[in-house]
């Protein structure tokens, strides 16, 4: 297996981008990544793109070909593959591009992630996102996506004494981090009281516990490590990659407060990387809801099960804490264009490891982790990166 490097990243702004279409967003991110890598478009061997539901959000399927076409690559007839894994579509696209490069099937591969969510009204977006849940046995009965995470939160509070305030502190921290991220959807400082007093969505989760509906795209350029030096000196390599599943429905699990997909994917990635959770200098985790970040830091092994709320309260995950989590602002405040998220998380880690994260730079970050979840934990990818 070959070692794989990430030599280019590209990000669009995240937000309600009414003037930008699906194809404009992904083309912008892809172009930026190509320029950042210093490669020529003609050197690209293959394209992978993660997108959750373009069929419902913009009425367009077959987006592998669409993205190759709109980015000018279809004249070379390169293989283009769209990957879907709900909100983990981006991380999953990277995973499969990584496998292709590591295996020696392709050399230079571009990975994209994109979602255009504001071409439908909010209630329709709620319906579409609920398609990541079990349609016949959860959504049929009126269950929404926030409701599933709300039920996790309720059980976590019951079993471990996690407080309403601790949940809110995740959102407060991530909004504060997003103030330093020019691409973030929200540049608005919030307080614990703001979160607790925001309108209820699915109790105990309120509006400010939820990541927003967003448009946006992200892209990465991958190549074999031995070729990376031909293009750039800012090399970041992938030292661990893990992927796992769990039951599609939340009720299919014995322990509602643990995402076994995160546990399995992260252990696989740690093992490959030869590191322990404590070796991670910076992490981007899947905080689609405040409770999700608490679950993530527990299941990734940063803290013990049940102690996630306390860890947030004590500042362990703050930018100046022991393990800074979501310096980009996370899904909560940077925005969550679902298919783009997993790729954008890795882009943030690359910037952090290169020392190019601007005002939100974590000093001396050498090893970074990106954790991407699909559905209520039914799919997970974990990638561990290291500055070379």
């Amino acid at each position: 297996m070959r070692e794989v490097a990430i030599i280019g990243v590209g990000l669009t702004k995240f937000g309600e981008l009414w003037d930008k279409s699906f194809r404009q967003l992904i083309t912008e991110a892809g172009t930026k990544a190509i320029l950042d890598a210093g490669i020529k478009g003609s050197e690209i061997d293959a394209l992978y793109v993660g997108s959750m539901s373009p069929g419902r959000f913009v009425g367009q399927e077959h987006v592998g070909a669409l993205v190759a076409d709109s980015s000018g690559l279809s004249v070379m007839h390169i293989p283009a593959t769209r990957i879907e894994s709900a909100c983990a579509s981006g991380g999953m696209a990277l995973r499969h591009a990584y496998i292709a490069v590591a295996a020696g099937i392709h050399d230079i591969v571009i990975v994209g992630g994109v979602e255009k969510m504001t071409d439908v009204v909010g209630s329709e977006a709620t319906n579409i996102l609920a398609m990541a849940a079990d349609q016949e046995w959860e959504a049929f009965f009126g269950v929404t996506f926030p409701a599933l995470y709300a039920m996790i939160a309720r059980r976590h509070m019951y079993e471990y004494g996690t407080t309403r305030e601790q949940l809110a502190m995740v959102a407060v921290k991530n909004h504060e981090n997003a103030l330093l991220n020019p691409n973030a959807q929200f540049h608005r400082k919030i307080t614990v009281e703001d979160v607790i007093n925001s309108p209820p969505v699915a109790t105990p989760l309120n509006l400010l516990d939820c990541s927003p509906i967003s448009d946006g795209a992200a892209a990465l350029v991958l190549c074999p490590l031995e070729k990376a030096k031909e293009y750039t000196d800012k090399i970041v390599k992938i030292i661990g990659s893990g992927q796992a599943t769990d039951s599609l429905a939340l009720h299919g699990r014995e322990d509602i407060c643990t995402f076994m997909s995160t546990v399995k994917a992260s252990r696989e990635a740690y093992k490959q990387a030869g590191i322990q959770p404590k070796d991670v200098d910076v992490a981007e985790v899947h905080d689609c809801f405040t409770i999700a970040e608490i679950l993530a830091i527990e299941d990734l092994g940063f803290v013990k099960k049940g102690e996630g709320g306390k860890a947030v309260e004590e500042g362990l995950t703050a930018r100046d804490g022991e393990i800074p989590v979501n310096p980009s602002g996370g899904l909560k405040a940077k925005g969550h264009p679902v298919g783009a998220t997993g790729v954008a998380q890795v882009a943030e880690i690359v910037l952090q490891l290169r020392g190019e994260a601007g005002k939100r730079q974590i000093p001396d970050a050498r090893i970074g982790l990106a954790h991407n979840i699909g559905g209520s934990g039914a799919s997970c990818t974990v990638h561990i990166l290291e500055a070379v």
Binding site: W137, G142, A202, T203
Partner: protein
């Protein structure tokens, strides 16, 4: 959902109306919704999955009150949904009805009740299935 052929809902009627699950005759584990293959016995279970009716009685594992609903449930807010563990050990998700929403608690005993779940509008099909109600309140009524 919308624009679907009714067969999609019709084929689930035994499960949604009568809580018919499956039991693996090799290991005796019970599943709901029904499974074609037991995840533990796998090939040994092929042809040995038998239908079994669940009691419908169980307890609340966790719950939430939904204030922002999917479109078809807009007329019902606020409403409660829960993960319920049935006596047979299987867990299902549905609504909790016939009680004050603030009385719902983890551990509360509930039983299944046959209810209208959603519909396709004035001219479309109506879809039925199970919801849950507290056991005590039901017994009080007798």
């Amino acid at each position: 959902m919308g624009g679907e052929a009714v067969s999609r809902f019709w084929r689930e009627i035994p499960q949604r109306y009568n809580l018919i699950g499956t039991k693996c005759k090799v290991c005796n584990r019970i599943y709901f919704p029904q499974r074609e293959v037991c995840p533990f016995c796998r090939r040994k279970s092929i042809g040995k999955m038998e239908e079994v009716k669940l009691s419908g009685r169980g307890k609340v594992i966790t719950y939430t009150i939904i204030h922002v609903p999917p479109r078809k449930f807009e007329g019902q807010v606020p409403y409660a949904v829960a993960v319920v563990e049935l006596e047979e050990g299987v867990r299902v998700t549905s609504q909790i009805v016939d009680c004050d929403l603030d009385k719902i608690k983890i551990g509360m005993e509930v039983e299944a009740t046959f209810r209208r779940i959603q519909d396709d509008g004035w001219t479309g099909a109506i879809y039925y299935g199970y919801k849950f109600r507290p056991v005590e309140k039901h017994e009080d009524k007798k």
